[in-house]
Symmetry: C2
Subunit: 308 residues, 2 copies
């Protein structure tokens, strides 16, 4: 099955305790696409400026990612500058320049319309909804958001949530969206807004998959916890969440049926791709993986969590 | 196999978002003993005052816990008052009255000397060492400590760590003890101080078991992560860590051999007992469990984490 993803392609200047990199290729759609490309066909919808050239295109082309939905516009690409000097779990943003993204109006190539899965990366919920409405045929819609949209664009975000099957957010976002500090209660409140599945990411502690409740099921029976890999060194946390989403949705796209077991394994593949992403600056590690390396780490995650 | 535990028996006045309780029976040795009593014989070394009477003794007696090492002294028992109003993960201490604990000098009954396992609950490391030195025959020594001893009694604590097989502490304590914010690096530094196994507890995110490294092993291959149960309501977090330790060490004591698999299952039983402890105020829930309930929750933890 093929995935269409809509989101940002950006340049990121990043400072971490390990060092600093200027204008790495980044953006949610980039991390997501690279991570998902190891599992299935990926088609991108995004906008870039004049500064996006053959060198950047080669990164997508090397992974056979469909670029027909990448719109080229006069101006500069989205630019973000941030640091993680005090806390590897939370970026401090120094600069955000929307540039060509400010007037982005996503257009869906006809060739993308038979995609079975859709991922709405973290962008303005108005744009997320516009894309979702144009892809009514997809089997599964997953999406991401962030504190900014939860805080100041709640009505538009609610419209997106109504059309989502899976929402992937972090603890803080889940608690903020639900207005409830208990994660189990927060998860239930978030799923009442639309998504029947909720993935809550806990950074270095892994992630939890919550399922919509049915009258007969018990809370813990509907829940699955995947670990994160205890890492000796996190070089750059940028894009870990988008890489998780790429592994999660990408693995689902590779499966003939979306069974409960497929969702559990998808949680592991999400964690696996997140763990690779943070080992190098930017998308460096995600560009050069092999499926064998990915599966070896999947088995490491199994050893890390399974009794037998 | 039998466990001897040395630690506090206390009265706790506790306030949480759910309510308030005055002078519950508490203390690390109490939580530990009750949790471990579902798995093996438990023998307690502690000191209590005149306020510890037949009602409190009945709690230990009901679980067949050996009380011959509980010293009765004129005065009041250890008293602690704390609240968790802003943050269920961290107690705010309002009052600590050592009372009879201030002059505690642990004495080990002869009947305890054939114990195969020893647990040094969180008390003054000078006392921990004194008990450990009098129990040279034990097969496994586990222990706990806290920020106060790490900060201001480091030399005495180092003497205890040299004699430990397993140290059980939380993230903050591990990072403080190692002076390193990366958990994998911190774990290695802590194990270099003595314990060959380190259990780091992550509160609502579970716990990680680190093994001493050998030249051939890789970090992740030496590591095991157990989840915590996502709970809709935490009534009272007091004693969760001691209950984890009771389940962990208690389960080990019930095993014929301390294999790697036994340590993995012990991590699950630790999490299981911690999850029960927080469901009611004080030790209420730990007093009235059955082994069938415990094993049912163990299987719930397996479902929560296992792919198949």
């Amino acid at each position: 099955m093929a995935i269409t993803v809509v989101g940002s392609i950006a340049y990121d200047s990043i400072e971490t305790p390990v060092g600093r990199r200027e204008r790495c290729l980044g953006g949610a759609a980039t991390y997501f696409s690279l991570a998902a490309s190891y599992f299935c066909d990926v088609r991108v919808i995004a906008v870039v400026g004049d500064d996006f050239g053959s060198e950047q295109e080669a990164v997508f082309a090397a992974r056979n990612i469909d670029m027909r939905g990448i719109e080229h516009t006069a101006g500069k690409s989205f630019f973000w500058e941030g640091s993680y000097l005090d806390n590897l779990n939370e970026a401090k943003t120094h600069t955000t320049e929307l540039n060509v993204f400010a007037t982005f109006n996503p257009k869906i190539p006809n060739a993308y319309r038979d995609s079975e899965l859709l991922f709405l990366a973290n962008i303005d919920p108005v744009l997320q909804k516009r894309v979702r409405d144009q892809m009514p045929q997809v089997k599964l819609v997953a999406g991401d958001t962030m504190n900014y949209w939860i805080k100041d664009h709640r009505a538009a975000l609610y419209e997106v949530l109504k059309g989502l099957d899976v929402l992937l957010i972090n603890d803080t976002e889940a608690r903020m969206l639900a207005g409830n500090s208990n994660l189990v209660q927060a998860a239930r409140a978030v799923m009442a807004l639309g998504p029947r599945l909720l993935v809550v990411k806990h950074g270095e502690y892994g992630a939890t998959l919550f399922h919509e409740s049915t009258p007969k099921s018990k809370s813990a029976e509907r829940t699955f916890r995947a670990p994160a890999l205890p890492l000796e060194q996190v070089v750059d946390p940028t894009g870990a969440g988008d890489s998780f989403a790429g592994g999660f949705v990408g693995y689902l796209a590779s499966q003939p049926e979306l069974t409960p077991g497929a969702f559990r394994r998808a949680m592991f593949y999400g964690s696996v791709m997140g763990s690779f992403a943070v080992e190098r600056f930017g998308t460096e590690r995600l560009q050069q993986l092999s499926r064998a390396e990915i599966d070896a780490r999947f088995h490491l995650f199994r050893e890390l969590t399974h009794l037998d």
